[in-house]
């Protein structure tokens, strides 16, 4: 009896102490930006749609069922880029870092979905999957306060030549500096990260072949794209296998 009571009090005290110290610790944190960002000094790259298994796209251009999941994913993903959702966003000066550190309310820059051209989903609801020109959106991970230098752009290279021709939207795969820096979820609620659409025009040679493609962020000295251990730091590799 007494033992139980003792442990009740003892653990009660410890639990209270734990809660209290955690509370104190949380009080020292800002709700806007994390205290340290040194573990993500350089952002990773990611694509959408993202196949369930590894980063491998398998589909039959003539079977809409085989790629419908990719299409839906893309549609859902681009939902937040619709004009209607961007009513509060402003048009920013292109090619310049949009520094708003002094502003109490951080504005988000408009990302015009038409910039994605044939991959915007406006012209082709199937994002080219039915035509053998599937689109993949490449995005860069959000990192608070990151200000890319130079002219960052995405460049994708297939492992073997002649199987695929790659088109970029916006042209050159550019990521405009005006979308940076990011101020965090709470301050920068409407922020939209810039997207680069990669259109893979698969040649007849490339059909029924597995095509390995690697995309990298280039043109910016402070965005790393070659880390031995982190295969997604400033780069991403995926495979496409299209059948007919």
């Amino acid at each position: 009896g007494l033992i139980l009571l003792f442990y009740l009090v003892f653990y009660g005290f410890l639990a209270a102490l734990f809660t209290f110290t955690m509370w104190v610790m949380l009080q020292t944190l800002s709700s806007d930006i994390p205290k340290y960002r040194d573990r993500i000094s350089s952002p990773g790259l990611m694509i959408s749609p993202k196949p369930d298994t590894a980063l491998e796209f398998y589909f039959n251009r003539s079977d809409s069922q085989s790629y419908s999941e990719y299409v839906t994913t893309l549609q859902n993903f681009l939902e937040s880029y619709n004009d209607s959702k961007q009513s509060q966003n402003i048009d920013c000066t292109r090619g310049k870092i949009f520094d708003q550190s002094d502003a109490a309310v951080k504005k988000a820059c408009r990302f015009n979905i038409t910039e994605l051209g044939q991959c915007s989903g406006k012209e082709d609801k199937n994002f080219g999957y039915s035509k053998g020109t599937p689109c993949v959106l490449v995005k860069m991970n959000r990192v608070i306060g990151l200000k890319p230098e130079g002219e960052p752009h995405i460049q994708c290279t297939p492992k073997e030549e002649g199987m695929v021709n790659i088109n970029y939207f916006p042209p050159n795969g550019a990521m405009d500096l005006m979308y940076f820096p990011y101020y965090g979820k709470s301050l920068h609620a409407h922020y939209l990260q810039p997207l680069v659409a990669v259109q893979l025009a698969i040649t007849p040679n490339g059909t029924k072949e597995e095509i390995a493609i690697e995309c990298k962020i280039l043109g910016s000295p402070n965005l790393k794209n070659q880390d031995d251990r982190d295969k997604f730091l400033g780069r991403i590799a995926f495979k496409v296998l299209m059948s007919e």
Binding site: M25, P34, Y36, G44, K50, N141, R142, K185
Partner: protein, 963 residues
Amino acid sequence: GLSSARAAEILARDGPNALTPPKATPEIVKFLRQMIGGFSILLWIGAGFSWISFGIQLSQGTDSAFDNLYLGVVLALVVILTGIFAYYQEAKSTNIMASFSKMIPQQALVLRDAEKKELPADQLVVGDIVEIKGGDRIPADIRLIFTQGCKVDNSSLTGESEPQSRSCDFTHENPLETRNIAFYSTTCVEGTATGIVINTGDRTIIGRIASLASGVGNEKTPIAIEIEHFVWLVAGVAISIGVLFFIISVSMRYKILDSIIFLIGIIVANVPEGLLATVTVSLSLTAKRMAKKNCLVKNLEAVETLGSTSIICSDKTGTLTQNRMTVAHLWFDNQIYSADTSEDQTTQPFDQSSPSWTALSKIVTLCNRAEFRPGQENLPIMKRVVVGDASETALLKFSEVILGDVMSIRAQNKKVAEIPFNSTNKFQLSIHETDDPHDKRFLLVMKGAPERILERCSTIMINGKEEPLDNEKAEAFQTAYMELGGMGERVLGFCHLYLPENEFPESFQFDTDSMNFPTSNLCFVGLLSMIDPPRSTVPDAVSKCRSAGIKVIMVTGDHPITAKAIAKSVGIISATSETVEDIAKRLNIPVEQVNRREATAAVVNGMELKDMSSEQLDAILREHAEIVFARTSPQQKLIIVEGCQRQGAVVAVTGDGVNDSPALKKADIGIAMGIAGSDAAKNAADMVLLDDNFASIVTGVEEGRLIFDNLKKTIAYTLTKNIAELCPFLIYIIASIPMPIGTITILFIDLGTDIIPSVALAYEKAESDIMNRRPRNKRKDRLVNHQLAVYSYLQIGIMQSVGAFVTYFTVYAEQGFLPSTLLGVRVNWENTNINDFEDSYGQQWTYYQRMYLQWTGYTAFFVSITIQQVADLIIRKTRRNSIFQQGLFRNKVIWVGIFSQIGIASILTYGLGHVTALNFTPLRFQYWFVAVPFAILIWVYDEIRKLLIRRYPGSWWDKNMYY
């Protein structure tokens, strides 16, 4: 003699003349035992599981499969390395002993091919004729065919310390009794002899006894039992938590493979990998310390056995006593004087002014054949080597101490005739010229058995004047004689006579055969009594044993009266206690009517012991607190030891003779004498007493008790952090947070930061006088009791876990993952395909970035445990006293431990922080301090615990919190 060819034939048939050494366990078996003993099995299971999951993952093509392969290899390495370490430690302590048995090969003088040859004794065969002389060890059992004044010392065989004469006569059916056989390994004290070898090697009497000893089973030492108990306890906890969480994780729909990996983690977290090595090191440190105090421990575990000893059966001669006859009392002028019997006497304090003393001292000096070996002038008198028997030696040293140069006194009083002592007339006589040039008389001096001497006297010297020996004076003599004899002392009477000048002129020719001089109507001068006095350190040691609750039983071959006297003088029988016989004498009633329970002491004669049933012996051992066994044979020692063990006691036994070896083996701890002990005894013993001194046993007991306490502290220290290592796994499984600590990291704590501190606890001084406690009860006072486990696991361990988790959550929160975000993220967190994992602030993380953060978490968790282990180390210094009573800085090694702990942690964090395989990352400086408040809390809480224990002994708190 034999021809060489024939001898070689027999040698081929019988084998060499040497005792077969006790069968040693093959080294490889010892080694394998280390590999699978203790926790090793659990770790092997862990390694096995790792390899199985590696195999499965490899076939599934998982990227991280090799992690499990490495983990398995690391676990196997841990087992093998700790195994090798333990094996090495054990081998090292055994080697100390091996050097003992390696003695200079003995040589024997043999008649072979009709020539005398020096041969190694192990080449002897039955039928060889050997010659021996004084000082030799008998090389085999031999039947004597020629002797000349040969005496042998059979003490190693029979326990009798008096040399026995040997001749060619067959005197008894029993080979042990007959005079014409000398035994292997006994020594020839004086004279020469020639004999035929009748038995060699294991067939000798000694060989048979030695093989008897090896038949007595070796029982597990108390500490081995304790460690086994502890291993079972921890293994039980590990397995039950492991299995419980295996079931939980399976029912939480984790994959079986994942559940197995969790199981490995739980096992590794629960098993204190470094602990058994630490225990070995602590024991060998104590063994080293004991060796400095003259206790050489053969078997490491015996270190602690000595501490739990509750009965010591000690020899008398040499162990309790100085093994040297010394003059203890004098009687002259109707008065008894006591002499100083300590080891390093340089003067004698008794009143030496009486002229009777002058006369007595002259007799003592002159009527003595003993002489110092030359060339020892610089040695203290008591240490000099003397040629002569024990009593004469005692008298020589006694007079040398008081009068100075005895040899020159003898030279001034030239000896003209002498009759040496023999057993028929029981006296020794010599006639001297006097040193006074004006006194031309001869002085006749005589010493011998007091009653015989008195018979020859008609006068007695009182204050330098001769007075007639009337009845009254004879009665005074009788009283003194009885009193001295009653003290167990050997009494000698001394008398003299100045021969009248007219009858014995200067030119008189004394003839000792016809005795042409008076040997009666002499003048009685005084009595001297001698005893082998107790070593001066022994009474103190015995009283220490008494306050330490250890019963000291004297077992001796000596006469009961002597035994009792020595027992009284060293305190084995205390001044106030009485034997049944004493009570009978005091109340003047027959022995049978005495209430046995009133007698606290008992002196048991070997003859009585022979007829006793084991129940009767048990009753004696139970009912009497103070027991002396006198006139016992070494064989009876075994019976006594077994009797003590039946009482549930942990028995320590001392012994030196070959015949003691069964008792030494049977005892929980056999203690052989390093100086007087035979090889067989040393082989059978667990410990060797280098100075043969009983007091050394007591210091050994103290060390043994201390190490038991300190091992408790070490184990408590080590077990505590196991909870802090285990909780992360449990919470990881239940709350699905990112893994707080890695399996490899745990190994770095167990085998890295924690090792030196836990050894440092072995240097801790005792908290209170450990020699004022009763010996621990084998059944009740466990090394690891449930209070220790509960306090370490459920209280301090949990506090440590809380502190470590606070650090863990702080690291994650400050990097962007608030605690609320972490709950339940495990599956996505560990998914290598998710490389845009969002944190609480909207940032996105690649898999590797998350893993790097996870390792930072490991490092932070590791550092917090280390910091709190510093507090744990400090609180474990004492179990009852405040740290401030014990002294924070008294044990310097603790500080070495603390600095090593922090040093190793820093090296791992900052030095190896870039080696990804080890899963350490450099850590921000401030994270080292997150757990500091918890470390302080641990210290404060433990001080409160100790304070309450001290304030309220026997209370609920004391019962539950004192380990």
